[in-house]
Symmetry: C2
Amino acid sequence: MKQISGGVTAAKGYKASCCEANIKYKDRTDMAMVVSEVPCECAGTFTTNVVKAACVQWDQKIVYGGGKLQAVVVNSGIANACTGKEGWDACEATAKAVEANLGIAADTVAVASTGVIGMQLPVEKLVNGVAKMSGTLTDTEEAGTLASKAIMTTDTINKEIAVTFEVNGKTVTRGGMSKGSGMIHPNMCTMLGFLTTDLAIDKALLQEALSAVVKDTFNMITVDGDTSTNDTLLLMANGLAGNEKITGKGQAYDAFVEALSFVCTFLARKMAGDGEGATKLFEAHVVNAKSKEDARTLSRAIVGSNLSKAAIYGCDANFGRFLCAMGYSGAQFDQNDVELFFVSKAGKLQVFDKGTPLAFDEDFARKIMEESEVTVFVDMHEGEESAKAWGCDLTYDYVKINADYRS
Amino acid sequence: MKQISGGVTAAKGYKASCCEANIKYKDRTDMAMVVSEVPCECAGTFTTNVVKAACVQWDQKIVYGGGKLQAVVVNSGIANACTGKEGWDACEATAKAVEANLGIAADTVAVASTGVIGMQLPVEKLVNGVAKMSGTLTDTEEAGTLASKAIMTTDTINKEIAVTFEVNGKTVTRGGMSKGSGMIHPNMCTMLGFLTTDLAIDKALLQEALSAVVKDTFNMITVDGDTSTNDTLLLMANGLAGNEKITGKGQAYDAFVEALSFVCTFLARKMAGDGEGATKLFEAHVVNAKSKEDARTLSRAIVGSNLSKAAIYGCDANFGRFLCAMGYSGAQFDQNDVELFFVSKAGKLQVFDKGTPLAFDEDFARKIMEESEVTVFVDMHEGEESAKAWGCDLTYDYVKINADYRS
């Protein structure tokens, strides 16, 4: 597997475009579109929030209904959540606009939205946006990059990646883009993610792989504990790489999962580190836990705690907060088994040793924590399972961004 | 039932004192003590955190072991959590110091700590503190008030209350004090609370009443979602009111529960409104839910969401965030049944009506939200159960206080 430059247009047969539709933002692009030359097998994972945005309901109907996907239309600015029938109609109007402009069947067009909840989308602007974008679709790397920028809300950097890997002698490409950055929490973390590949693969296997990989990637990040109404991750596979179609598990499937995992980990970490107001990526790495689920639960609790996040922001090696978060996570353990370390490029420092706090060099601790990526490493000494979770620090800017998000 | 002035010393036979022990804070009182003339029936509720502070383990041994309680010693500054055997020894040394100075059996002395986790208590200072306080115990109202101030950490106001109520013709008094204000989250919310009464009552009934009342009071507040290692609520009943001992349910028991509920609600609301960095009390009132547990879950999710809390701080009527929080709470419901209102002294405003966002007057909404107590009122239209939860807004100061708490 090899990382290459590019994003959603890297794989064969995908085009992208974007435009300024003035949905909510002014003077910036706020709609994007990704289109495949041919209908794709598709898989998706969606928010577990009971209050699902209209667009999530729309996409679930396609993905879970066994349909194919040929285009995705995204807007940033208004979430189209808590919008009743009018919200559903906006999804339909968008998909029909794609059909009218490109001849792609409306029931193969996914829609995704992010932004303010409880506000109606301006349908005319959406439809005009689709018309504009339909005329400017290209398969250039730049088109993919511009699309990844158009879907940003409070993100400070765009997130895209592409890799190639071999399947039975054929080179397959996978690209992806995603956006954060508030209302981010496992199941699904609040996010939009769009993955494209030219791999030929069976639909059921595609979904199985995506669901498995999401557990250890997108579902292991948190920014603020708020699981949004709009989380959507869509994976399109158009089969144009020319590989013999993957219809069962084996070497080819494994190569595909490895690449998928790499891409999702990359995007997930980027989203966590670019959480609203964040100044650094905060990783928890729990090893030797009793079960995989415990390892995940413990590592997520560490990066999810407001107090832990504030300590990371303040470069304060207040390790008791991490132990406290582990303690209320729901996982059962004995603090007398636990070792805890702070780790970054600057070094590794143990601060807690099986029930007892260690005296440590505060200056060295601060040096470790001042790095832009800081890991809390915990050895549970209870089993053999491990997990990583990613989050960010809690800063003044998080509060600032969210105290008056609508204006 | 009647509210009177005073706190833990209001009921018959209770004395209090405090001192500057320099545990961690300088130039302020940081230890307090409450003593009953005679051994008390006692009840308690404690943190559900797996990582329990040494003092929680100490107190659980007394309360759950069927013992009586005659004194409580509290220190603020160091939590005595994650401190191994040395932490347990500090509890024992404190209790033995009370025995040496006052002749009260060490196994009837509860200890409670709040502050930094993972740091050892200076035992000599504790023991000296007990000696000082043993010589200055009084039953004055002032002594109770000073004790309630000595247990504060990042609290900005002390919290105490006293009420009287009638039991079979006898006047019974109940007093209480508590402290917040960070690491506050249901089960138990992070807090220390000490309730005293001169009521004569059976131990089992005392515990039953406390456990029931806590569910709708202290366990319904949240400041930051972090359930601490130290949460402790102790209830002492010394029987000196002279009432016929309550040994079963009935009118007398109900009067007692009503007074207990009033006191706990008062203290819980005070703690929520005085959450770290808070500028206002944020209440969620959910009515007509399918079950009591749903009502509690939904209301807690609303006040627990960082995004909701930031919106409350910014006086931003971004009601979608509240619906979003309800959606990921774990309770099942249909957004098309839900009505949502903002309520405060300034008025009441409906913003969401059974699936559809309403157009509303933004200026009026802001006026409602600028009050010091703001309620999000939600009618689920699904049943007959209701609940209230209390929290506070998320502010710059919360981050500031917690980014470098130890220094």
